[in-house]
């Protein structure tokens, strides 16, 4: 097991180096730069432009800038935002809990609905439930998130008035951040109604962010179940006279879960991508919205630091999923 773990870890080193190149290169490949955007319609004289670029250290050759970036990175320093002048790492860490809270709620919702729906669709293959749920999953998968979010806001917040429009909690509540997770902080605050308000604010963004993973999980569960249900041991179990519910729930589902767990683990990347749009629509102060703002401002250190952190987190989660997989299925360890 330890060899398996070390082997996986070793793979991460070149991957991470590759990510640093992509993160560093991405923002520089985009046309335009922070100085030009700041000057705006007024324009800027070439002398002043050179002076500012030099002040920011962008007059150096790109490879040199990259090495400097790597050097600072190994000292745990992601640099300072060009715009806010605050350390990128501290900005990231301030905003990250909001994204994690939303992503966790979304993945829990997607799993809680996606797995039973997939199982039921597989068991009742070809039924109206199967048709409708898989049709819905396809729609969910293809839904433009931005449009979907606005639609929900207009219906549930605008027309029906059931949910708040945006934000993390009602502005009436004001308490210091302890964990950065609003659900926890609102409980810790002891203020009446704060937790309820935090939950209410989470509903719509959770639904929007969960939509794509939900569709993927439901479809994956269905196909994994179908495969397992056709296996000999399932037939044997049925032939032994075990109740159908037990065959599906224990014999089939447990085996079908292996690819589903992997799928859920892989959704972390999808969630991060989805968070960018979801957070923008719901004014959710997480890293997705922050990255969008930073890209628009060509805030090089913020974009490259943010990309790197997100990539590192996705890699870490995938590593954990791999390890779990190894635990669930011992055969994997020797491959």
């Amino acid at each position: 097991m330890i060899r398996f773990f070390l082997g996986k870890l070793l793979y991460l080193v070149p991957t991470f180096l590759g990510v640093t190149i992509v993160a560093f290169g991405f923002v520089r490949v985009l046309p335009g730069d922070p100085v030009l955007l700041m000057a705006g319609e007024r324009g800027i004289s070439p002398e002043r432009y050179d002076q500012l670029m030099q002040q920011l250290g962008y007059d150096q050759p790109v490879w040199w800038q990259y090495l400097e970036f790597l050097g600072r990175l190994f000292r745990g320093d992601l640099g300072e935002s060009l715009v806010t002048k605050s350390p990128v790492l501290s900005e990231f860490l301030t905003l990250f809990p909001a994204t994690v809270e939303l992503a966790l709620c979304a993945i829990v919702l997607a799993t809680l609905i996606g797995i039973p729906a997939g199982v039921l669709a597989a068991v009742k293959r070809g039924s109206w439930f199967d048709q409708i749920s898989m049709g819905t999953a396809l729609i969910g998968y293809s839904m433009p998130i931005f449009w979907w979010g606005l639609l929900l806001i207009i219906l549930f917040s605008g027309v029906l008035g059931w949910t708040p429009v945006s934000g993390r909690i009602s502005l009436l509540f004001f308490f210091p951040e302890v964990t950065g997770f609003m659900l926890i902080d609102s409980l810790l605050s002891g203020q009446d109604g704060a937790f309820g308000s935090a939950v209410a604010h989470l509903i719509l963004p959770t639904i929007v962010l969960a939509t794509i993973p939900l569709a993927v999980i439901a479809r994956q569960t269905r196909s994994a179940m179908l495969e397992v249900l056709g296996e000999d041991y399932v037939r044997t179990a049925r032939a032994k006279g075990l109740p159908w519910r037990r065959v599906v729930g224990v014999h089939a589902l447990r085996n079908a879960m292996i690819p589903v767990v992997t799928t859920i683990g892989l959704q972390i990347g999808v969630l991060m991508a989805g968070a960018i749009l979801t957070e923008t629509i719901f004014s959710w102060p997480g890293i997705g919205k922050w990255m969008v703002d930073s890209i628009f401002r060509r805030d090089y250190p913020a974009v490259q630091g943010g990309l790197l952190m997100v990539a590192a987190i996705v890699m870490a989660v995938n590593l954990i999923v791999d390890l779990l997989y190894g635990l669930i299925n011992p055969r994997i360890r020797h491959v």
Binding site: A39, R42, I44, T84, G167, P285, W290, D293
Partner: protein
């Protein structure tokens, strides 16, 4: 007391105040401020959250106008030669007492000098108080070369010595970058080795003081009870940062905020129809234009430029692109600005005459590029659509148009190049309400290769502008600017397209809101009806 317990105390005080029916105004702002020190920034979003609520300037813009009125200086004198400005400060002005600073003295000349010297003097430790900082407004308003020295005459008197007479100087001092900071607070930050907090934990003299900023989410302010101009009617001011205009409107309609800026043009009719909302509007201090490159043939010939101007159906653009929320522009400055020349006649839309003029100028089979901005700006809702309409109009007089576009930063840079190929759609929003801020910046010879996208250098025009800049009498200046507009119209370096209308939707409960022609959003005089 620890930071947290202080925050808790503040929260408790806020809640207690809420019990006593504190009036809280919620403003759905359009973005996060870049920081809370206005000097290094150029974005209106940042100024709305920093300089306008928190700080004051020596002089201020009168609400709803671009007139300069006393601010922290209650009066001032200008020497005969226009080279010396002496400001007499208001006595007894208090800086904010916050969780992070308790002032021991009132505003003095030292604070004024500090506020400018840190931007002016590269050797000041405050010039680079965080790495890579620069003062773009101070620099682009040429304050560095304009101010020769600033001297303290006494505690409440400060004198600016200029290198040349410059009439817009006073208006410049009302701009955001000229906000007055506390030198005592700066000294404290320096002593505690946390200078960069100047940009995070502001201390000013303004109508509101900052309580807390939750990044990208909420900014909370409390009314300054000791404000020299009287405590604002509301007790708390909250900015709920909401980037999407459709979501802002939903929040406004759901009662989650009281005021929102920048509605989507497509939503204007729905807002008008909503009986719980009030829609304020006013002509923006802006202009959208198409700038020819007057250095490149055949656009170096004014007759060609005038002919193309006559081929453009401006009204069709106003109707289709601005959806009626704008007015056709005939001058480079908006009609709300002093010195606007009413007597100028706009080019009539006449494709036939345009075609003839082009022929007379010997221009046939002309192909040209029209540049369309990739972004929406307050003066231009949709540049692509505008370019397409221009393309049709020009095709009608036999001119073939290719529409090009670039990423915004690149667009701004490439469009400045003197050898640029094609005519550029762009615009401008005024910084300080002074005509020089349009005519001087955008059209003088000094701006060629930068903000002067027409690359147009008329000595006659530039002489008038420079003369006006050095004249202190406003009526004399206005006359010079009116003459300059005549030359502009004859030479036609631009096709002036439109001045857009700015909208401000708000709840019916909001009272006393006054729109600023300069586009800033201020709440010191606003009240909420119970």
């Amino acid at each position: 007391m620890t930071g947290y317990s202080k925050l808790l105390m503040t929260a408790a005080v806020c809640l207690a105040a809420a019990g006593a029916q504190a009036k809280t105004l919620v403003y759905c702002s359009e973005g996060s401020p870049e920081g809370f020190d206005p000097a290094p920034y150029t974005a209106g979003t940042t100024f709305d959250a920093s300089s306008r609520p928190i700080y004051n300037r020596l002089v201020e813009f009168e609400k709803g106008t671009t007139n300069v009125i006393p601010g922290l200086a209650e009066r001032w004198e200008v020497s005969e030669d226009g080279l010396q400005y002496t400001f007499h400060l208001r006595p007894g002005v208090k800086f904010h007492t916050t969780d992070w600073f308790t002032p021991t003295r009132d505003l003095t000349a030292d604070d004024v000098i500090f506020s400018f010297e840190r931007q002016r003097d590269a050797s000041s430790p405050w010039n680079q108080y965080t790495a890579g900082i620069s003062y773009e407004y101070f620099n682009s308003m040429e304050m560095g070369t304009l101010i020769e020295s600033i001297e303290k005459v006494d505690d409440l008197t400060v004198r600016f010595n200029l290198t040349r007479p410059e009439a817009p100087f006073l208006a410049n001092l009302a701009m955001d970058f000229a906000s007055i900071m506390s030198m005592e607070y700066a000294d404290q930050l320096a002593a505690e080795d946390r200078m960069s907090d100047l940009n995070q934990q502001p201390v000013g003299t303004g109508p509101f003081q900052m309580v807390a900023y939750q990044q990208d989410a909420v900014i909370r302010y409390r009314a300054n009870a000791e404000y020299w101009n009287g405590k604002p009617p509301i007790d708390d001011l909250v900015f709920a940062i909401t980037t999407d205009p459709a979501v802002r409107l939903q929040k406004l309609q759901a009662g989650e905020c009281h005021v929102m800026p920048y509605p989507a043009p497509a939503d204007i009719e729905a807002i008008r129809a909503d009986e719980n909302l009030t829609l304020m509007e006013q002509p923006g201090l802006n202009v959208a234009y198409l700038a020819y490159n007057t250095q490149m043939p055949p656009f170096d010939n004014p007759q060609v430029r005038r002919a193309l101007n006559m081929a453009m159906n401006k009204q069709a653009i106003i109707d289709a692109v601005f959806q009626g929320t704008g007015e056709a522009a005939k001058n480079p400055i908006p009609p709300t600005m002093w010195s606007y020349n009413e007597e100028i006649e706009d080019d009539t839309y006449d494709p036939e005459a345009a075609r003839q003029m082009l022929e007379e100028a010997g221009v046939t089979d002309l192909s040209m590029k029209v540049w369309a901005m990739p972004v929406q700006r307050p003066y231009m809702p949709n540049a692509r659509r505008t370019a397409e309409l221009i393309q049709e109009d020009f095709a009608a007089v036999g001119v073939d148009v290719e529409i090009v576009s670039y990423e915004w930063g690149e667009y701004l840079e490439r469009s400045s190049a003197e050898d640029r190929d094609g005519a550029v759609i762009l615009g401008w929003t005024g910084d300080n309400g002074d005509p020089d801020n349009f005519l001087g910046v955008l059209l003088s010879c000094a701006g060629v290769g930068e903000a002067n996208r027409a690359q147009w250098c008329s000595e006659e025009f530039s002489d008038l502008i420079n003369q006006a800049k050095a004249t202190s009498d406003q009526e004399e200046r206005a006359e010079l600017y009116r003459q300059a507009q005549v030359i502009f119209k004859e030479e036609a370096p631009w096709a002036t397209i439109a001045h857009s209308t700015v909208f401000m939707p708000m709840s019916n409960k909001v009272q006393g809101y006054v729109m600023s022609p300069l586009g800033s959003h201020q709440f010191d005089a606003v009240d909420i009806a119970e």
